[in-house]
Symmetry: C2
Subunit: 186 residues, 2 copies
């Protein structure tokens, strides 16, 4: 296996490990063991636990973006609904990974925040394009979409923590919130 392939494999294994374990509760030794490697090997590819986490988070962010992309020619409202539902499904499949990125100490790490903010901005831009709205950061529609992404994160985190209400109910209320916010900007 090439160095690049081995690194990629460790990142893929990290998606599973960080997805299901609280960041602070898992040591580099455990990470290595669960990834079928030694701590030394892990340090060979990633200088620190945080560097490993960030490499994994970068891939997770791309996975979420892909998973929340509707097929071409999907109607805007359906695309939104599918996107929110795929987002919730991804969070449910990696609950601790979601909570690490959005709650707790690491969530305010500047590197983690930079990744989060970029992901949020990319999603917001895509929604504006989907809805045929300008990507102008001074508009009420932009404020609505960006503000709404925070509601999505909060509602998703609470849903993961409490298991209430149903995923379908969370999905519907989130779509309704964005529609209500945008309707109020006209």
């Amino acid at each position: 296996m090439s160095t690049e392939q081995r690194r990629e494999q460790l990142v893929q294994l990290g998606l599973d490990v960080f997805g299901h374990h609280a960041y602070d509760e898992v040591s580099v030794e455990q990470l290595a063991r669960q990834a079928g490697a030694s701590a030394g090997l892990l340090y060979h590819y990633f200088p620190s636990k945080k560097a490993y986490y960030l490499a994994v988070m970068r891939v997770a962010v791309d996975q979420i973006y892909s998973a929340t992309t509707a097929p071409p020619n999907t109607a805007a409202e359906d695309a939104l609904r599918l996107g929110v539902d795929a987002y919730l499904a991804h969070a449910a499949a990696h609950p601790m990974g979601f909570l690490t990125a959005h709650r707790g100490a690491l969530a305010i790490d500047p590197d983690v925040q930079r990744l989060s903010t970029r992901a949020q901005q990319r999603q917001a831009d895509r929604i504006l394009i989907l809805l045929g709205l300008p990507r102008d950061r001074t508009t009420a529609a932009h404020a609505a979409v960006v503000g709404w992404t925070a509601m999505v994160r909060e509602a998703t985190a609470n849903w993961l923590l409490t298991a209430h209400p149903s995923r379908d109910a969370v999905s519907r209320l989130l779509v309704g919130a964005l529609q209500g916010a945008l309707a109020a900007t006209h």
Copy 2:
């Protein structure tokens, strides 16, 4: 002046100082000077800069709650609109205080988060009561209201940082978001 009165006066002055200065950029000496006291006196009342900040934040949270309370017999929709507008007005009058509590390093301090969460929960409960909905944490309406409070914070922080769109536009899109979310829970 009694000890209690002097402490109260320092807290009131702190509302102004923390409201207009980034937490990390103001020293205890500056805080004391701006509050018309010595650093020694400040330490007499508050064991640390953070303790002073928390005392000030506790009062700010109560101020916001009062400011966002509509007069009795206000219709629910008007009360919501007035509440959101008063919230934005309070944030605009204490921009750095708002950003300290909700962005940056101190925002994840456990004591600060406890105060924020309690304030958020209190506002959510009030909104549920206002709308005649049960205060049941397993319902979609509860998830909608709590998720929405995160959108309010995010949209308010962005509005303070970018000055776009107008306060009225932010207020309208926030009210629209909650109405849209709740409509989707029926």
